[in-house]
């Protein structure tokens, strides 16, 4: 287990307070916590790819970063207008 894998586990543990806000906060606070978790998820995938030395898996965080940008905007747009 190298430093990258340990950092991955630590980041996942660090995301727990955001998870609490997602589960128990009001809806806009949950969206804010979701945005933080999405950034953490991209970093976790990068760290896992580097930690396990799998170059092919570096494409996942790139795709996730692009998709999370779009999905975040769709989320807030829906919350702004309809939900």
């Amino acid at each position: 287990m190298n430093g990258f894998v340990i950092a991955t586990i630590a980041m996942l543990i660090a995301a727990v307070p955001c998870g609490i806000v997602v589960c128990r906060g009001e809806i806009m606070a949950s969206v804010v916590a979701y945005e933080a978790i999405s950034s953490i998820a991209v970093m976790v995938l990068v760290l896992l790819s580097e930690g396990f030395r799998r170059p092919g898996e570096f494409e996942l965080p790139v795709l996730l970063a692009v998709l999370l940008f779009g999905s975040g905007l769709v989320f807030v747009r829906f919350l702004e207008r309809w939900l």
Binding site: C18, E35, V42, E59
Partner: protein
């Protein structure tokens, strides 16, 4: 343990500390506007530090380039998402993002002075 690994581990520790502080800040702060301040370090500072850690560990490789690409997307998306979230929160709260929350607000909108 080589010097590169020591530098990478220090940077990873810094990134984890930033993420932890941001996460606790999001939990502790009271309203959406305050919570949103704590997304920025997790979405802007920590990805850059992680990218530097991978650069220190691997040097200039294809992996580093793909990491930089992913992190650039996060860093670009963060301010846009923050702005859109504040706008949505404001519209949900007041019905229009240009309207002040209370009389005497600092945005100087005509509706508030009346």
């Amino acid at each position: 343990m080589s010097g590169r690994e020591v530098v990478a581990d220090c940077l990873l520790g810094l990134a984890v500390a930033v993420v932890l502080a941001s996460s606790v800040g999001i939990l502790v702060m009271r309203d959406v506007y305050q919570k949103l301040h704590y997304v920025t370090p997790a979405a802007l500072v920590a990805p850059i530090v992680v990218g530097l850690a991978i650069l220190a560990q691997s040097g200039l490789t294809a992996n580093t380039a793909e990491t930089a690409l992913a992190l650039v997307f996060i860093v670009i998306a963060g301010p846009f998402l923050s702005h859109a979230t504040i706008r949505a929160a404001r519209i949900r709260e007041t019905g229009d993002w240009r309207r002040g929350r209370a009389t005497g607000s600092r945005d100087g909108s005509p509706g508030d002075r009346a």
